[in-house]
């Protein structure tokens, strides 16, 4: 991708790169997300397609406007904000009103990304911040779940999706509870097979664990994602859940349920690995993943809400600079004892 410039570019190290630039990475993330997105639209129909579309458009437009407004060159060309928008769309309920989708997208990009300085500066994952804002602002629509694979889901757009801006949605689609809500409030555990295949309800893109995992493996194979973060999250959650289930199998679900339910898969693979908001060192990544895993288990088992992946990742985002400060790579040539 080398490109000749008529100017001599001078910059600080590193000078040796592996040739990947932001847009190449983003293209690969997009490829990894493609099956997940396709499955989401297949499972939830036209509502989900509209939600994903509006989410992406709102994020891209916000970034474009803000760049124009502040007199900076527009940064939408590197696709990073489009990926943020796509991810943001994938973690929303499929029958969320489009105006709320838009509000959250604007909030996420403007507050979590742009106010912190734009690409490469965001302390928090912008998609998750957008969702967290919606969760706080509109708790009812954000905990309303459409039944997957409903009849006529492609021809019929749920009325709630087309709610008038600033007006409450009315629901006509068949609703259901998410596996995690069933666990929390009913003490029922969904079967692992259903969860993996995406037969349960949930946010647009979080239901099919296997496809998400495949996307993650693709990114790891292309060396575009730090595999230590999801691995550490999975191991922590699995180990803790296994121990609790051993202690009391009636109250606590098994590791497979915990790994494949809710937003854990999507969060661990695509959100926690946000290159900017996660730690730099490998040891730091392990620690960061363990923190997320611990928080997820704590929130899911003892918290007031059924799902905690979003808050777990946001909290770990906040801690990640401190992890970096705690675990600094040894400067080449110095010993362990010297500083």
């Amino acid at each position: 991708m080398a490109r000749l410039s008529k100017y001599l570019e001078i910059g600080s190290s590193p000078h040796v790169t592996d040739g990947t630039s932001t847009d190449v990475i983003m293209l690969n993330v997009f490829l990894a997300l493609l099956p997940v997105t396709a499955f989401a639209i297949y499972a939830f129909g036209s509502g989900a397609a509209l939600v994903i579309m509006v989410a992406t458009v709102s994020c891209v437009l916000t970034e474009h406007w803000l760049c124009r407004w502040t007199g900076k060159p527009s940064t939408i060309g590197d696709w990073s904000v489009a990926i943020t928008g796509l991810l943001y769309g994938l973690i929303l309920p499929p029958d969320l009103p489009l105006w709320m989708v838009f509000v959250g997208g604007v909030f996420g990009v403007a507050v979590a990304k742009f106010l912190f300085g734009g690409l490469g500066m965001n302390a928090f994952n912008a998609a998750l911040v957008g969702r967290a804002f919606l969760q706080a602002a509109f708790p009812q629509p954000m905990t309303h779940w459409q039944m997957p694979f409903a009849e006529g889901r492609f021809e019929h757009i749920p009325t709630s999706v087309l709610a008038m801006p600033f007006w409450e949605p009315t629901y006509d689609a068949v609703t259901t509870a998410t596996p995690l809500a069933l666990m929390k409030f009913e003490g029922q555990f969904a079967a692992g097979r259903e969860l993996m295949a995406g037969l349960t309800s949930g946010s647009v893109g979080e239901t099919c664990g296997v496809l998400i995992l495949l996307g993650g493996i693709y990114l790891v194979a292309r060396k575009m994602m730090n595999w230590r973060i999801p691995a550490s999250i999975f191991l922590t959650v699995a180990a803790m859940t296994w121990a609790f289930q051993l202690y009391d199998p009636v109250t606590y679900p098994g590791p497979v349920f915990m790994l494949f339910s809710g937003g854990l898969m999507l969060g661990a693979v695509f959100m926690a690995t946000d290159m900017v908001a996660s730690p730099i060192t490998n040891a730091g990544c392990w620690l960061y993943g363990m923190l997320i895993g611990l928080l997820v288990v704590v929130i899911r088992f003892w918290g007031g809400m059924p799902e905690g992946v979003m808050y777990a990742i946001l909290l770990a985002n906040a801690v990640s600079p401190h992890i970096d400060r705690l675990i600094q790579p040894r400067v080449f040539g110095t010993g362990r004892g010297s500083r």
Partner: protein, 229 residues
């Protein structure tokens, strides 16, 4: 800067500091006592009116009330001073005992919830309900105060005692919205599961503690003199 020079600072004697602090302290104490004396009566009035309004809201048929409390030996007596969680007996215009109003509290989703509810001696049911204090999430948990189908539970929530009158015949419990099958069950609110569960637990706890005593000794309490009107 108009800060005094160090030399001036040294001249501040202990006496002048003492004088200033004691003087201001005395002045402040006087002021607070004055304001307290001036407002005490209205504050007591306001508090009493707030509570009696709430009592009238949950037990509208009552014309007069007597606050009751438990004696050291566990028997019911008229209270001499207001309790933290007061319990009242309500009488109609003929001085007949019609119901009891019970204050109860328990942990909700965000913080303690304090509620006031009425028990009808005639129908053996809980008939009125009002949240006195809650910090539940606006839009979700606080729906227990306004949601019509939840408030409909209190048209007659079964609170019969068992045969020897020592406990509730059926524990009051919250069930999922739309799954109420028994008269002692509270039809919960989807999206406010924790708060509506908490209300059930609070009612159950308050009723278990008070209803056996009230049923046993309540009729022996002297109704207030009708001159109060």
């Amino acid at each position: 800067m108009n800060a005094p020079a160090p030399i001036q600072q040294k001249r501040t004697s202990a006496w002048s500091m003492y004088r200033a602090i004691v003087g201001i302290g005395a002045f402040c104490a006087l002021l607070i006592v004055t304001v307290y004396e001036a407002t005490a009566e209205r504050i007591a009035d306001n508090k009493a009116r707030f509570l009696s309004n709430a009592v009238a809201e949950v037990l509208p048929a009552s014309r007069s009330t007597v606050e009751v409390t438990l004696n050291a030996d566990g028997s019911l007596v008229a209270a001499t001073e207001p309790a933290d969680l007061p319990v009242f007996l309500g009488y109609d215009e003929n001085g007949d005992l019609i119901g009891a109003v019970i204050t109860a509290q328990g942990m909700g989703y965000a913080d303690n919830i304090r509620v006031l509810y009425a028990y009808s001696f005639g129908r053996k049911v809980i008939v009125g309900f009002k949240v006195l204090e809650s910090k539940e999430t606006p839009g979700l948990g606080d729906k227990v105060e306004i949601e019509p189908h939840f408030l409909a539970n209190f048209e007659g929530l079964d609170a019969r005692l068992n045969e020897d009158g020592t406990a509730l015949a059926n524990a009051i419990v919250t069930v999922k919205q739309g799954e109420k099958t028994e008269p002692w069950q509270l039809d919960g609110i989807t999206g406010a599961t924790i708060t509506s569960d908490a209300i059930g637990a609070i009612l159950n706890q308050g009723s278990s503690a008070w209803l056996p005593v009230l049923e046993r000794d309540g009729r022996a309490i002297q109704p207030p003199q009708p001159t109060q009107e």
